[in-house]
Structures are given as C-alpha cells and as structure tokens.
Amino acid sequence: MEFRLTDDQLALRTGFRALLDGRFGREALRAAVERPAIDRALWRELGDAGLFSLRLPEADGGVGLGLPEAVLVFEEAGRALLPGPLVATHLAAGTVPGADTGRTVVAASDGALVEWLAEADEVVGEAGDARPVRSVDPLTPLHRVTGGPEHPGRSAAAVLTAALQLGSAARTTELAVQYAKEREQFGRPIGAFQAVKHLCAGMLVRTELARAAVYAAAVTSEGRWGGADTDAAGAKLLADDAAVRNARDCLQVHGGMGFTWESDVHLHLKRAWVRAGQWITGAEAEELIAAAL
C-alpha cells in the first residue's frame, strides 16, 4: 500500500504549477475578472500541455495517464483560479473533436447548471431551456437548466471538481498564513494571536482531510473498485466544505482588506460557492452516502 505521490506525479504537479504561474498569474487573473472571456490561446496551450487529453490513451493521441494524475493537475488549476469549463472539456476529450487539444471549448450540463455556455463551441447534455443568471462569481458565467439526462462522467466530474476545490482550499490557507505573518497589530504579527492561529490550523485540517479523500477517490474511481460513487461523493462533500469554509476564514484573517474587491479572497469564495453547486451538492452527497451505510 503506497499513498505517496510518485516522482512522476510530483514532476507533473510542479510542471503545471510553473505553467500556470507563468501563463495565468495574479495579473492575468485580475485582468480576466475585468473582462471575463475564455482566452483561446491559453486554452490551446493547456491542451498542448495535456490538461484535456491527460486520460486519453496514447494510441488516440492522449497522454495515457489516469484520474489520480488528472486530480493533481486540476488541483493546480484550482489554486490559480483558472476560469473556463475545464471539467467539461476534459471529459469530452476523445468524444468531441478538438476537445483533447484545446481547439474546441466544451460546456456541459450537470442537470442544474451550465458554465460558459455562450462561449462554448459544443455543449454536452440538455441545454435547450438554458436561462442566463447573474452569476455570483464574476469569472464564471452561468445558465440554469432543468433536468436532462445524467452526464455519463458524473462521478469523474465530481472528483475533478473536488480537486479544483482542494486547490482553492490549499491556496486560501497559504494566503491566510502569509498575511498573518506580515500584518502587524498591537505591535506583533497577528499570527501570534491564538484566535488567528486557530483559524489557520482549522483551515489546514480541512484541507488535509479533503486531500486524503480526493486523492483516494481518484484512485478508487479509476480502478472502479467498490464504493467508487460514494468515495466521489465524499470527496466532493469534504472538498466543497474545505474550499468554502477556508475562503471565509481567509477573509476573516484579512480583516477589512478581505472585504474589498482588490483582494483575491472573494474570488476564491465565490468560485467555491459555484463549484459546490455543481455535479453533486452537499445534500445529494450526504443522502448518497447515507443510503450506502
């Protein structure tokens, strides 16, 4: 039994972090918030780097890796707050032409929501009655839909979305800790105060628990072991929790600064809310797991 990441997996993660740092750093994020649109050139670069074709067999032009590797890469995307229908396009690789290389942007309906519908080249699932909503996340345009067939990749979609949430949860923990070390009040860094310390410790605990659940779900879903669906649901539930609650605590640690548009904290919180509503909600996950008890 070996849960640690292999050297190849570590290298994959490092590589994607470097790519996103260079190509979608803070300035790019802030610019995107002001003019929300899918950066087609970036989408192709992500395609070339294998983000969408990661799990496609090499014989079909893919990278030939599995869900555990995809989860590591999506975690990085979550850290960077990378926008776009990443999960939908990734799932469409191999079935929708051009999805694997990032030449085609694919949106998908999860039965309740579709993100980036207007900008997508293709839509998977029923979106005939899609109605635009004013999305809470400035960088995720949303449509509401009613019903439709279940997406065939629902379980994998839930795990990948959970990975995005995990990345965000880890990032807000870092942002809070960094701020707590620098910001001084009463003549000391605020991180010396226990109330602040305990908020930060709680954030790490949530992140680590979610990480164990997400990585394990990636492994069990991949091998289609027993309980894969409840593992995916559990991972989504704990990662949603970690992302949403960590963003809130991060905002608290930032004080008034956290309540401004300039700080990135609200972007993490709003994106976390959107993702928590996608694929499997908390209530659905709890019912699914309860039914299996």
Binding site: F3, E174, K197, G202, L209, A210, T230, E286, E287, A290
Partner: protein
C-alpha cells in the same frame, strides 16, 4: 499513489485473519468496563496470546524483541484485530506504545533486557506519570522533585490523571532534578525515571471519571527511593526523552478506533432504519456526512502510514506544507471531534434510550468527551499545527 495492498501484505493479512478466527473464541468473557483489575487481567491475557503467536510488539524493532513489521503491516494488524472484535491494547497501552518504544530507543542494554520482555509478554503493566495538578498543558512546569542521595533519587510530589495507575507495575515518571532558575529554563532540569508502583511512599488514589470508571488516578509520592540505574537518558535530559515518548503517542494510535467508528456508524444506520428515525432527513444527512468524514480519516491514516514508511519525506501539501509528522496533530484534531459527533448522532438515533447507560453507545458517548483533552488538548494541538507546521509566530 496506489491504495492496493501488495501480495506480501495480503499474505500477512490472511495469516492474521486465520489466527484471529481461532484465537478469539478462546478468550475469557469481557470484564465489566468499570472493573479495572478485571480489565487488566483480560488485557494482559490477550497480550500473552499475541506474544505466543508472534504478534507481540509487531512494530517494535527486532532487536528490542519486536517483529520489526512495516508500518503497513501494523496498519493491517490494527484494522483486522478491530474488525474481528479483538480486545484493544487497553491496560498495556503505555507499555506497548510509550514506555517500551522509549526504552528501546533510549535505554541501556541492561534496561532493555529488564523491561522490554515483560511488556511484550503481558507480565508487566506500565502507566504514565507526566501530568501534575499544576502542570497539564504546560507540562514543562512540572514540580515533582528528585534529589540525589548516593545511588538513589529521592522523589516527592504528586501526579494526576495517571491512566491505569491502579493496576500498573511500573510508571514512566517525569521529575525535576534541577530547580527552575534564571540559569535553568523549565524545559531543562527534567529527568525520565522508571518507578516501581509498589515502592514505599507511592500512594495511588483512584479518580472516578465522568463515565463512572476509575481508569485514572491521583498519585502521591512521598520520599520514594528510585535507583539511579532506573533513569532512562541522562540526568536533566528528560524533556528530550519525553519528546521521543510523545512522538509514539501520535501515529497509528487511533487506527483501530477509526475502524470501530465506521462499524458503529453502520449500526447507527441499521438502528435508525428499524426504529423509524431514518425518515428524518436531517439525521440521515448527518449520518451521511459522518460516513464521508470517517472514510476520509481512514484515508488520512493510510497516508500517514505511507509517509512514515517512506522515511518521512512528505509529498502531500502542494503549498509547501509537506513536512514529516504533519499527520498526527491534524488527524487527532479532526478525529477527536468526529468521534464526539458520532456519539451525538447515536443519541439522536436512540431517542429516549439515549438516557439508558446500559446501552454501550451511551458509555462511549461519555468516554468520547475525553478525546479533545487527553494526549494534548485541541487548543494545544492547534497551536502545534499553527506554529510547527504553518510557521506562525510563537505565542510568547
């Protein structure tokens, strides 16, 4: 990242399961949970059976009489013994998980030969005399004094919350051998001694816990003479030795319990389906959430074990938190809370029966209250996570 067990590991598991199926029916009936002498007899008998089957001190190094098993084998052992309903380590806890490993790591050849085999055989039971009335979370401020008199230390003071003191043969005792002063900060001047519980001057007064049992005690030490040869580590170097001891307290100590919690959760669901409480969506959803929590805690354990197996180079924590030992405090913080939530849910499943102490869930509900306190409170664990893992400034 591969959660499958290797062929060797599965062979180990198979042999263990086979042995458990034969051994457990031979156990005497379980004692009343409030009867500590009965529990000692039961727990040491179980230890003896493990010893004779070659499973004693599984994770101890071979040169200390253990089996030198890998952390994963230890994990499998804890998982399977719990699944089979085998007894807990119980009264042997301190000997097997604290004192034994500490002596194996820090003791002399003579000390290892004297103390380790009886622990493994279940002949001698140890207790932990660290906490004092004035030194709990702030353990380093302990005041029990030891004064050198020839080849003995003469020890006076008192200890508290000493688990199993009533039934123990030996105590791992922390004493102050150098008074605190400007020159001697409180973490220095502490010494780790092994004390016989039947030595003249030792008085044990059992304390009743809120769950009704006398699982811990107060201990009064009145000019107790302890041979200098029973000191582990150097004089005044006890704090470092203590850190060795405490590092064994974390790790896999709760593995079997996570398995037990998952089993209890399944029983909760069955009971709720039978008594109609399942129709309450709020309760159903709480049970579902606990299912996710305990599954994740189990995964976290597997991860911690994996990392300890690999020599402690962490690969988790994309944000640079991948330090060894991250798992223990993180795990304990969440587990202690989740265990309390589990038994809160049990009370809601039971309804009016939640007030009947004859139901074991209600005993467990009471005992669960100690988890956020014993072995370092949640507040102290959060300080540890914040300062040692996240690198936030020290309190003082």
């Amino acid at each position: 990242m591969d959660l499958r067990y290797t062929q060797d590991e599965e062979v180990f598991r198979g042999q263990l399961k086979e042995w458990l199926a034969k051994a457990l029916p031979a156990l005497p009936p379980a004692p009343d949970p409030l009867d500590w002498p009965g529990r000692r007899a039961y727990d040491t008998a179980w230890q003896r059976m493990l010893y004779e089957a070659g499973y004693a001190g599984l994770h101890w190094p071979a040169d200390a009489g253990g089996r030198g098993a890998t952390p994963t084998q230890h994990l499998i052992f804890l998982e399977e013994t719990e699944r089979a309903g085998a007894p807990y380590v119980g009264a042997n806890f301190v000997g097997l998980l604290h004192a034994g490993p500490t002596i194996a790591a820090e003791g002399t050849v003579e000390q290892r030969a004297r103390w380790l085999p009886p622990v493994l055989r279940g002949d001698e039971v140890w207790c932990q005399g660290f906490s004092e009335p004035g030194a709990g979370s702030d353990l380093a401020s302990l005041r029990t004094r030891a004064v050198r008199d020839g080849d003995h230390y003469v020890v006076s003071g008192s200890k508290v919350w000493t688990s199993h003191a009533e039934v123990a043969d030996w105590c791992e005792l922390l004493v102050r051998t150098e008074p605190v002063s400007d020159a001697v900060p409180k973490h220095r001047g502490i010494t780790w001694l092994a004390m016989r519980m039947d030595a003249p001057g030792v008085t044990v007064r059992p304390l009743r816990t809120l769950a009704g049992s006398t699982e811990f005690a107060e201990m009064f030490l009145d000019d107790v003479r302890i041979p200098v040869t029973d000191r582990v580590g150097a004089e005044n170097d006890g704090w470092r030795v203590t850190m060795v001891t405490l590092s064994y307290e974390r790790g896999t100590a709760f593995v079997g319990e996570v398995v037990a919690c998952r089993r209890t959760l399944g029983e909760l669901a069955r009971t709720a389906r039978d008594n109609g409480r399942w129709e309450d969506p709020a309760l159903r959803r709480r049970l579902g959430r606990l299912g996710a929590e305990f599954a994740a805690l189990w995964r976290l354990t597997q991860w911690n074990v994996s990392e300890s197996q690999g020599g402690g180079v962490g690969s988790r924590g994309g944000g640079g938190f991948g330090v060894p030992g991250i798992g223990g405090s993180v795990f304990k913080l969440r587990y202690s809370q989740a265990r309390q939530e589990l038994y809160e849910a049990a009370a809601d499943v039971l309804g009016p029966d939640a007030l009947d102490l004859a139901h074991p869930w209600n005993q467990d509900r009471l005992s669960s209250l100690s988890y956020t306190i014993a072995a370092g409170t949640s507040q102290i664990q959060q300080n540890i996570v914040a300062e040692r893992i996240l690198g936030l400034p020290k309190e003082r």
